[in-house]
């Protein structure tokens, strides 16, 4: 950027035609360059705009006065933050729970063998193998169960025990007879 460019830009500036970017450029140029005498006024003007944009509302009590006027006393504001402070332990507990769950999941996913397969074909083949094995064992198990049939035959045999039972009942009558015999003899 030479002085001629700047003078042309200043002309545009005074027509109100410069963009925000061009004005930034002007401010930057005037704050950094050795400025020729015919442009000295602009150096001061742009320096003024820069400083003026930094000015602050001077009253240090402004915020408190505003809160007072709005009827929001500092006490209310402090109460709210006090309540927050009381909740801090709860935040801590919640955070640790989240952390523990997180750590658990990280370990879970980091375990090398989780019994899962990335390739679907291998997973299918493995699943098929396991299912066939299970069904094979199941069949041999069924064979073993045929012995249960003979057990059921034995249960049929047990029906005969009823007759025994009847016999015992008859025996009881005899024992009564026996007791009465003893009484007589005493």
């Amino acid at each position: 950027m030479n002085t001629q460019d700047i003078e042309r830009l200043i002309g545009k500036y005074e027509q109100g035609q410069t963009t925000a970017k061009e004005e930034e450029l002007l401010k930057y140029w005037f704050s950094n360059e050795e400025v020729p005498e015919q442009l000295a006024i602009y150096k001061e003007i742009f320096a003024f705009y820069d400083a003026a944009s930094e000015e602050e509302l001077p009253d240090p009590e402004f915020d408190r006065k505003l809160l007072d006027t709005l009827g929001i006393s500092e006490e209310n504001v402090q109460n709210k933050s006090g309540m927050l402070r009381r909740l801090y332990p709860a935040f801590g507990i919640a955070a640790s729970i989240v952390l523990l769950i997180g750590v658990y999941f990280i370990f879970q996913t980091q375990q090398p063998n989780t019994g899962t397969y990335d390739d679907p074909e291998i997973a299918y083949a493995e699943a098929k193998r396991v299912l066939l094995q299970v069904s094979g064992n199941l069949n041999t198990g069924m064979d073993e169960l045929s012995n249960v049939k003979s057990m059921s035959k034995a249960v049929d045999e047990l029906d005969n025990l009823e007759m025994l039972d009847n016999g015992i009942k008859e025996m009881k009558k005899i024992s009564i007879l026996d007791k009465s015999k003893q009484m007589i003899t005493q």
Binding site: E14, A20, S53, L57, P58, L66, L70
Partner: protein
């Protein structure tokens, strides 16, 4: 944001306690409307517009009370801390020159050259069009340059 609104109010009112007063009132109005604030595209633009309107109202009622208070008859101003630091004369001189401009030009110089708003934003906040903003900006910038020139000629050519 309170500093930005204060700078605008102080530019228009040229009176620090009054400008602070206006900024407080702006915040009170925002607070009272807090349920409806989401409907505004830009809270900042809305706040700037309220600030400007409140200042112009005050200036108007002041003019009605004391007709003789003209733009040329500005009370000597108390310095803000930033100004006090900038004790160099040219800062104070330029500030005074700008404060002598008509209200509309003062507003536009403040919004564009100090706060850096886009032409379109200024047009919306002042309820006018971009071309009018450019015209006023051009007039204000030329006037400031001319007045500066006059001051310098006065100072250097002696009395």
């Amino acid at each position: 944001m309170k500093h930005k609104l204060f700078r605008l109010a102080n530019r228009l009112l040229r009176n620090i306690p009054e400008a602070e007063d206006v900024v407080q009132e702006v915040f009170i109005r925002l607070w009272n409307r807090r349920d409806k604030l989401t409907q505004y595209k830009s809270l900042e633009a809305f706040s700037v517009t309220i600030t400007k309107n409140l200042c112009l109202d005050r200036l108007k009622s002041k003019r009605n009370k004391t007709d003789e208070l003209t733009e040329q008859n500005v009370k000597p101003e108390r310095l803000t801390p930033a100004k006090a630091m900038e004790l160099n004369d040219s800062y104070r001189m330029i500030n005074k020159l700008i404060n002598r401009l008509p209200e509309q030009q003062r507003l536009i110089i403040q919004m564009r050259d100090i706060e850096g708003y886009e032409h379109a934003e200024i047009a919306e906040m002042l309820n006018t069009n971009e071309n009018a903003v450019r015209v006023n900006l051009s007039r204000a910038r030329k006037k400031i340059r001319d007045d500066m020139q006059k001051q310098y000629n006065y100072e250097y050519t002696g009395h």
